[in-house]
């Protein structure tokens, strides 16, 4: 390898890496180096502003949580209580929990914001989620057969998942997963689909049960017994309010997360495609490339980004999973510009468009149907060109 000058349009010395990757190995390497440079720059700049931000979000979350729990004592304020508690759970799970457990704030050395100590307000034990999410999903993003987040073992979310009559229920399963999302996330690590197919043994799950049961017990005790009981005669109202808050969080999280990898135009990969390096391993450039093509953003205002845990910047999150999420909007313009320069699609759109696209896919893939031709990068009809 000689030069690493970013010149995606000039004649390459060798051909493209594969039919799917329009870049030469040199260009792919240069692309990866540009991404590394962004990462390095932000890492060097981490400091008080990031710490202040996350502590402020935590303060809001704790305030909303306490306010929500307290307002259940005033029956007329019930809707407000539910709203406050829902917001608290959304902030806790997304902007705080998801991001803290990614290790985004480990550099602060604050045990309360440390990926190894933090646990979130859902029935899924953070410890188990970190394995399936941080390791499996973020390392093998959108590699069929490796990334269990493609359909979560329940849904058919990609044409290359072989159709079976079971998938006729795709929209029903998706709806159930939406309303029961925290339970889906909790049970995800049991890899039930792999047990059914014989790839995993039931005994393999044994070590997971105690942690899972402990977390479920604690969450249920708090939301469905202790806090309702503390409101005395208002027990049923508080019980219902807590259930609704959990439901609101489930529906919101499901919709944001499904827009991260499932809108039309998002690519999936085979294991063979991810062995582009000379040593038969994936190069860092290809890994970055796969993260861009395997993710989709949601456009919106600053408050929307906070409430989505900045997962609305799924592309930036997948490129830089360990950078504090508040930095994603700030690097997004640059990432977009680089993608444009290399002729790579940068999939983004408003929430309604991305959600619509995901639900259309859920329904379409319920049927065997004719294979839709795979969108080639930069040419997909649903793909907003980087220049847009």
């Amino acid at each position: 390898m000689t030069t690493t000058q970013a010149a995606p349009t000039t004649g390459p010395t060798t051909g493209p890496v594969s039919s799917k990757v329009p870049l030469t190995p040199e260009q792919l390497k240069a692309f990866g180096e540009e991404m590394d440079a962004i990462r390095q720059r932000v890492l060097a700049d981490l400091g008080e502003a990031d710490a202040e931000y996350i502590r402020k979000v935590v303060k809001y979350q704790r305030g909303l949580e306490v306010a929500g729990r307290a307002m259940f004592y005033l029956p007329p304020a019930w809707p407000l209580a539910v709203a406050a508690l829902s917001l608290s759970k959304i902030l806790d799970n997304m902007e705080i929990g998801h991001n803290v457990m990614h290790g985004q704030y480990d550099w602060m050395g604050d045990p309360g914001l440390n990926s190894r100590m933090f646990d979130w307000d859902t029935v899924c034990p953070g410890e188990q989620w970190k394995y399936s999410h941080n390791y499996i999903h973020h390392t093998f993003t959108n590699i069929l057969g490796k990334d269990r987040d493609i359909g979560y073992g329940i849904l058919r979310m990609d044409e290359d998942q072989k159709w079976r009559p079971y998938y006729l229920g795709n929209p029903v399963y998706a709806f159930l997963l939406m309303v029961l999302f925290e339970w889906g996330v909790a049970l995800h690590d049991l890899e039930v689909e792999n047990i059914v197919s014989g790839k995993r043994k039931l005994e393999d799950n044994k070590p997971l049960y105690p942690g899972l049961m402990r977390k479920i017990r604690r969450q249920a005790l708090k939301d469905y017994l202790l806090f309702p009981a503390l409101t005395g005669p208002l027990f049923p109202l508080t019980f219902a309010g807590n259930a609704v808050a959990n439901l609101v969080r489930n529906v919101w999280a499901f919709n944001i997360i499904f827009c991260g990898h499932f809108p039309a135009g998002v690519e999936t990969f085979t294991e063979e495609e991810c062995r582009d390096g000379e040593d038969g391993q994936e190069t860092r450039g290809h890994w970055y490339y796969r993260q861009v093509l395997g993710s989709a953003n949601i456009s919106g205002g600053p408050l929307f980004h906070v409430m989505s845990g900045n997962l609305s910047h799924q592309i930036e999150h997948h490129l830089f999973p360990d950078l504090p999420a508040r930095r994603y909007p700030e690097v997004a313009e640059e990432v977009k510009e680089i993608c444009q320069r290399y002729g790579l699609p940068y999939n983004t759109g408003p929430l309604h468009k991305q959600v619509g696209s995901v639900f259309a896919k859920i329904c379409r893939l319920a049927l065997p149907g004719r294979r839709t031709p795979k969108a080639t990068p930069a040419a997909g009809s649903d793909v907003a060109a980087a220049a847009a």
Binding site: Q40, V66, G103, G109, R116, H138, R218, F227
Partner: protein, 365 residues
């Protein structure tokens, strides 16, 4: 607070505040409200000595969760250094034994370069202001005045200290004088301290006062000289049969240990200074303390070196993004292979898949 504390530490409140824990809520209103954790507010900072490595005594008001300490113990102090990096170091408590919730002092020498961003001790000595909040552990350590029931309580006590190693001995001496009848230690005490110079003498005024008073305490201060068995024998001929507490830098303690040979009366505490090896070619040894394995540093990442020794530490992405492999590096310097950044903090959490040792390194794997 005791009733409120009992409530806050109850299982019911733990269940209500799960999964974050009760301490994560009151701190949002007042950092001095805690149920289990210990924090402290800086009340005052008093300079003891000047120079390149000045010493200061910091008075701390701990939260009500502080369980008190025995003289000679130390405490872990966590400080949010500039750039919001919380860093924790151990410091001896220099004040007399405390009861739960009581004020304590730590006496600290500013170590490391004259850049406050780099060291807890420098921050405490040069930056700390009354009102600042620091994070504490409970008191730890067994370098304390501990007497077996078989020993008479009025036996002779001997303290041998060097530099800032004076602090635990001072805490014990202060406790003896505070709790003794009529301001006396009530037993013979010999306090032999070595400082580099008169200007470097910590607690100079207080020690002069103690030396002048009729209180059973002999204070012997040596400035510029090193410990010698000859001098000790002249002061305390039966030193090897005298209960002795020695605290100071490594070379001094080596001489003291030599003088005491195999006497069981000697208790020592070492003041560690982390050694930093400049970056360069792979040198030194890498030790994995939990597995009890050690090998010459090959320059590869800690994960690869551990695996080369047949260990199978938890790991995931092997590219620094998933944090599955995070382990505690007890000592030594590591270089982040992604950023080239080097770090020498003891007891630091590192991702072993992207950390390569620079020189000797001990990892808790």
């Amino acid at each position: 607070m005791s009733f409120a504390g009992t409530i806050l530490r109850s299982r019911a409140v733990a269940a209500l505040t799960s999964p974050h824990g009760v301490d994560r809520y009151p701190e949002q209103i007042n950092p001095m409200w805690a149920a289990n954790e210990v924090r402290a507010r800086v009340l005052s900072v008093h300079r003891e000595t000047g120079g390149e490595h000045p010493v200061a005594t910091i008075t701390l008001q701990p939260t009500s969760t502080w369980r008190g300490h025995r003289a000679g113990q130390y405490v872990q102090v966590g400080v949010d250094l500039p750039g919001s990096r919380r860093t924790t170091r151990c410091f001896t408590i220099s004040s007399a034994a405390s009861l739960p919730g009581e004020t304590i002092t730590i006496t600290v020498r500013a170590q490391g370069e004259a850049r406050p961003g780099q060291s807890v001790s420098r921050w405490l000595v040069e930056r700390a202001q009354p009102g600042d909040i620091v994070h504490l552990s409970q008191a730890e350590g067994d370098f304390v005045l501990e007497e077996s029931p078989a020993t008479p309580t009025n036996n002779h006590l001997l303290f041998l200290t060097g530099g800032s190693g004076i602090t635990p001995a001072m805490a014990i001496l202060r406790t003896l004088l505070r709790d003794g009848y009529d301001g006396r230690a009530g037993r013979r005490v010999t306090f032999l301290h070595y400082a580099r110079s008169a200007e470097d003498q910590i607690f100079a005024d207080e020690l002069a006062g103690i030396a002048a008073a009729d209180n059973d305490v002999d204070v012997v201060l040596r400035h510029g000289s090193v410990f010698s068995e000859f001098e000790l024998r002249r002061l305390v001929p039966a030193y090897a049969e005298t209960d002795t507490w020695a605290c100071g830098p490594g070379p001094m303690l080596d001489l003291v240990r030599e003088a005491y040979a195999d006497s069981t009366r000697l208790r020592t505490e070492l003041f560690n200074v982390a050694s930093v090896v400049p970056s360069g070619a792979a040198e030194g040894d890498v030790a994995f303390s939990r597995a009890g394995r050690q090998a010459a540093n090959t320059g590869a990442t800690l994960l690869e070196q551990a695996e080369a020794l047949g260990l199978r530490p938890t790991s995931g992405c092997r590219m620094g993004i998933c944090f599955s492999c995070t382990a505690t590096k007890s000592s030594g310097t590591v270089r982040n292979v992604l950023t080239g950044e080097e770090s020498s903090l003891p007891d630091e959490e590192v991702r072993v898949c992207v950390s390569a040792p620079v020189g000797d390194c001990v990892v808790d794997l």
